[in-house]
């Protein structure tokens, strides 16, 4: 899933300060799972903004809505007809959601309430960890399903570096060394010989090469 964290309240207040009528738009997908932009979080933020406005004698009209998916036009279409009634839309979607709204409503001010952080996994209650950088050329089969690009601080394909100590990364003693995990998992699954391979430089053009990427599938086109 895409994870995100809500921006600090002062930053959000500063963004919406010029506007009287603001629509808060949540998303029921990834950011609901990571408890930053779902219906519940939209309600909490709306209340916080209303209380704050009242305390400071400001007049603000806040409405709330949460779409099942903020990055897909079929769901965004729910806002058609109401979006124009607001001075601004404050999105609690990920960066893709914010931009999908902007793409759909060219004349409306769209503001982000979240900081989109990473593609990750819900590891525990209240704990999310990053484990994919969407490099566009998955090599997890060689690395025992532990991504060195994401989980090694230096993104080494031929690691570990000299800073791996007691299974921890030199950058943060709380972070496991990805290469230690790779070696352990290769051993457990009887594939240690893969460690002898010299992996060639990554083709970053599949991730970063020509600006924003797109997937266009004829078989899925209308």
């Amino acid at each position: 899933m895409i994870t995100a964290e809500r921006k600090p309240l002062p930053e959000i207040k500063e963004m919406i300060a010029p506007y009287r009528k603001v629509l808060l738009v949540g998303c029921g997908s990834c950011v609901a799972e990571c408890a930053s932009g779902g219906e519940k979080e939209v309600g909490l933020l709306a209340s916080a903004l209303r209380i704050d406005a009242k305390m400071h004698g400001h007049i603000i009209d806040i409405k709330e809505i949460t779409l099942d998916r903020q990055c897909v036009y079929e769901f965004i279409d729910q806002l058609t007809g109401i979006a124009g009634q607001f001075d601004a839309i404050l999105s609690l979607g990920c960066g893709a959601g914010v931009q999908a709204l902007a793409d759909t409503f060219p004349g409306i001010i769209i503001l982000p309430a979240l900081n989109t952080t990473f593609i990750g996994q819900t590891k525990d209650a209240g704990l999310w960890i990053e484990n994919c950088r969407a490099c566009g050329d998955c090599k997890l089969s060689y690395f025992a399903a532990v991504c060195p690009i994401t989980r090694c601080a230096k993104g080494l394909f031929n690691g570990p570096c000299g800073g791996s100590q007691n299974g921890k990364c030199e950058v943060d003693a709380d972070v496991p060394c990805a290469w230690q995990l790779i070696i352990e998992r290769l051993e457990k699954t009887g594939r240690l010989e893969l460690l002898q391979n010299i992996y060639q430089p990554v083709d970053w053009s599949r991730q970063l090469g020509k600006g924003p990427r797109k997937i266009h599938r004829e078989d899925q086109s209308a």
Binding site: L156, P160, G167, E170
Partner: protein
């Protein structure tokens, strides 16, 4: 006039090589490099120049190498993959070779979060093993990554690093093997304080026959004080300073600790000379270059060939 790598010649002739490290200043002052070079000249075969070590901005390694070259030293250009992508790294090795630099040491580099630019984007386009391989291909086949031909290949002696003290221990020698296969010709190791562990590592190196494929130079960093020993043990990633070493440093008065540190270093060098497959030493006297001549002399490694 053809320029040769002194380090390569010394090693090929079977001498026990001595290299030292020279850290560039945090400023544009060439005098610092020249004076460090003058201290080391005649006492070492080659001088490594670090590449913004620990992620701290310093005078560039290549510029410092050229300054040392002018002083008559044989520089080893350290290059990390942290700050430059494959375009810049390939370009810089061509530039270095054109300027008469004949040795390169390939590293991934300390992570940027340790330095004074923690908000920098770490490049890590390629890793050290890939860098070794790219440079080896450039030199031996005159081809860059992707297949384009070079008009003149870079004539450089290619080195890498090894840390026998990092984990997982059993994999350390596998990694050395990978670096050797990729094309490394000499290896400089992390500072050796735990001789027992180094000895175990060297045994594994010999078991794989790697000591016959690559020259291994053991890392030596003379301790300045007991505090430094404790600091390195607790705060420097991948460093193994055994408690007995710290105790030994503490057992002498503060004023005598530098002397004791040099004594330990000389003893370590003696021990390394007796380990089969160790081809030399690499002295990293951190901001203490003056210690190098004395240490080399005490260790009986003068005159240099």
């Amino acid at each position: 006039m053809k320029i040769y790598s002194r380090l390569k010649r010394v090693l090929e002739k079977g001498h026990f090589a001595v290299t030292a490290e020279c850290g560039p200043p945090k400023g544009a002052d060439p005098k610092v490099i020249r004076s460090k070079g003058k201290i080391l000249k005649g006492f070492v075969d080659s001088v490594n120049v670090t590449d913004n070590q620990t992620g701290v901005v310093r005078l560039s390694s290549l510029a410092a190498c050229v300054l040392l070259k002018k002083e008559g030293l044989d520089p080893v250009l350290q290059m990390t993959t942290r700050d430059r992508n494959r375009i810049a790294l390939q370009s810089d090795i061509l530039g270095a070779a054109a300027l008469g630099i004949r040795n390169v040491l390939c590293l991934s580099g300390d992570h940027q979060s340790f330095g004074n630019q923690p908000q920098a984007k770490g490049v890590f386009d390629i890793d050290s093993v890939q860098l070794i391989h790219i440079f080896r291909q450039m030199r031996d086949t005159g081809v860059i990554l992707g297949g384009d031909k070079l008009s003149v290949p870079p004539d450089v002696f290619i080195g890498a690093v090894a840390n026998p003290f990092a984990d997982p221990f059993d994999f350390r020698v596998v990694r050395l093997g990978k670096k050797t296969t990729a094309g490394a010709e000499f290896i400089q190791t992390q500072c050796i304080y735990n001789l027992k562990r180094f000895d175990e590592w060297m045994k594994k190196v010999r078991d794989l026959g790697l000591h016959k494929k690559v020259y291994i130079l053991g890392g030596i960093t003379p301790l300045k004080s007991a505090r430094m020993a404790e600091y390195m043990s607790n705060n420097v990633a991948g460093m193994d300073v055994p408690d007995e070493m710290i105790r030994r440093m503490k057992s002498v008065p503060a004023g005598e600790q530098r002397k004791e540190g040099l004594k330990i270093a000389a003893e370590t060098i003696q021990a390394l000379k007796d380990i089969e497959g160790v081809h030399g030493i690499h002295i990293m006297a951190i901001e203490w270059e003056e210690a190098v001549p004395q240490l080399v002399e005490t260790a009986g490694l003068l005159p240099r060939p």
